[in-house]
Amino acid sequence: MSEELQSDVLNDVKNAEAPVAEETPVAAEAEAEVKLPDYVEHEPRPEMTKWQWTWNEIKKNKTAYFMVAPFLLLFIVFTVIPVFLSILLSFTDFNMLQMPHWKGVSNYARLFLDDEIFLLACKNTLIFACITGPVSYILSLLIAWFINELPPKLRAVVTLVFYAPSISGQVYLVWKTLFSSDSYGWVNATLINLGLTSEAILWFEDAQYVMGLCIVVALWTSLGTAFLSFIAGFQTIDRSMYEAAAVDGIKNRWQELWYITLPTMRPQLMFGAVLSITNSFGFGAVVTNLCGFPSVDYAAHTIMHHLDDYGGQRYEIGYASAIAVILFIIMFASNILIKKALSKVGE
């Protein structure tokens, strides 16, 4: 039954398209050119109030709303409401037990004036994000670009090698074995063998190494969805554009990348940027699993950890919400900045 309908439909399409195209090719083309507006608003008829008109629209499109509704409902409950609840609670002293009291901006004042660990966490988060975000983004792009030059079979294998760490869950814990703090760790053993150090270095217990190591591991796991998106983006670019460009005087592959590839891929670049920013602020779990919580001397303590500390362990929900709101603001601000910067690519 279903197949019947499908083949029916396909036939209809063929039948419908062919004669129209022959009769009025110009008109058909023109029609295809016209981009349909998102929604054509009909003027509300004078005898209807605005509410009646809205209700009519809803009734007219009820299938569409019906199909969005289940997802939207869950999305509102588990994403939209939590965001607004955070904002609201950040002005209170809620602790899960008593009714919340309004406290104005005192949570924020405490964060910036009284909480030295928070300021340290801010600094660490910014260092962490400013390195992992751009580096992982550029690395994803460059590697995807390199991979695109390979023959298809090899390309699939190389893609897997680079992508595997990001899907394999907590496989990054192997870094803890490699950088193990005794001489059985591969790195320590190699350093001792080469005579570079006489005793094992306590990698994850030493404040001067913790941050750097976490950044390396975070980068190692960061070639994820954005990376795949770039690979796909490179593959969809029409080769004839490069041929035309060569005729027009593009001299090397770097010019090709800057003047043709990147501008064509701008939508993918945008998508990848959003994901990279999101991830670069979300590496809290990686750090916790590598260095424990709290990390030594708070050397790798990020805002995410601070949030977890007050929200998940001390139950100072009001204060934790203020931390969450700050984190939201930072994430959105960086997204907006990056979008502005990306719109200049290839100009």
Partner: protein, 290 residues
């Protein structure tokens, strides 16, 4: 004038031998950096005990053995609750969450991509915005909402929120826009198919790569979900959590930890390998228009 040479009967433009060598060199360096830790886990998991405690540690195995995997099973058998329970939990959560996400997200994606109604742009904008922040930011308020439903310490606390993951919806909506022609849908409607039927019988089969990608995105997250803060009973915890106890326990070096890691990572890798071309196809339309 640009250099031109042919390879495989295709014109290759603007490619110099030096550039090719440079790219191969860079790719190999990054490749070693990415691959070495993965390789090391696999080697560790195959080492017999005497090789594991050798100084300096070797980067290869002389007498490979599966004894570590055997040890893993022994460790599993004296866990707190029967180990099969952890496996069941992971499978159950992954299947329910993934199917739920597939059904809800693809219906919503179809509606947002192919139907026109007031508010659809606003809805999509909000969903795109949600991609911009990491979901753990909401962890605290999530807890409040889940406890209001009294879902804390139930399967529901993990399954239901995962059904509303936006990444899959986003990818599917973008893919539908580019690969399902409106004319096909229009003629299905003319043939008298209801909107829902059109979606199910015409649109869905055409976006198979997208729903595979959505399922894998969702699977990846759920399979790798360790200890959720919303669940504290031991019998509701996941395979990943149990394995993690083995890996991070003091016996990490003993090989069973490495064996456990190999087991955990092989599943998503196999799933990806089987579906790589479909996923890449879906990602082709993942771009974000500004």
């Amino acid at each position: 004038m640009a250099k031109m040479r042919t390879r495989n009967h295709r014109v290759v433009l603007n490619r110099s031998a030096g550039g090719d060598a440079g790219i191969t060199f860079m790719l190999s360096i990054f490749g070693v950096f990415m691959f070495f830790p993965m390789y090391y886990v696999v080697v560790q998991s195959l080492k017999p005990l005497d090789e594991l405690f050798m100084f300096p540690p070797r980067l290869y195995v002389v007498n490979p053995t599966f004894a570590n995997f055997g040890d893993l099973f022994v460790l599993m058998s004296d866990s707190w609750v029967p180990f099969s329970r952890y496996i069941f939990n992971t499978v159950f959560i992954t299947i329910c969450g993934t199917l739920g996400n597939l059904v809800f997200a693809s219906m919503a994606a179809y509606s947002l991509a192919k139907l026109r109604f007031p508010g659809r742009n606003a809805i999509f904008q909000i969903i795109v915005m949600s991609l911009m922040f990491h979901s753990t930011v909401n962890q605290v308020t999530h807890f409040i909402i889940l406890s209001a439903f009294s879902w804390i310490d139930t399967y529901l606390s993990i399954i239901v929120p995962s059904m509303a993951t936006t990444m899959g919806l986003y990818l599917m909506k973008q893919f539908m826009e580019t690969s399902v022609p409106d004319t096909v849908l229009e003629s299905a409607r003319l043939d008298g198919a209801s909107e829902f039927r059109t979606f199910l019988i015409i649109a869905m089969p055409m976006v198979k790569p997208a729903w595979l990608t959505l399922m894998i995105e969702c699977f990846k997250t759920l399979w790798n979900s360790g200890s959720s803060i919303y669940v504290h009973s031991e019998e509701l915890k996941t395979f990943h959590y149990a394995i993690n106890q083995i890996v991070t326990g003091g016996i990490a070096r003993s090989g069973a930890g490495a064996a456990a890691t190999v087991v955990m990572m092989s599943v998503p890798i196999i799933v990806f390998v089987l579906n790589q071309s479909q996923i890449i196809e879906t990602m082709g339309s993942s771009g974000m228009k500004d």
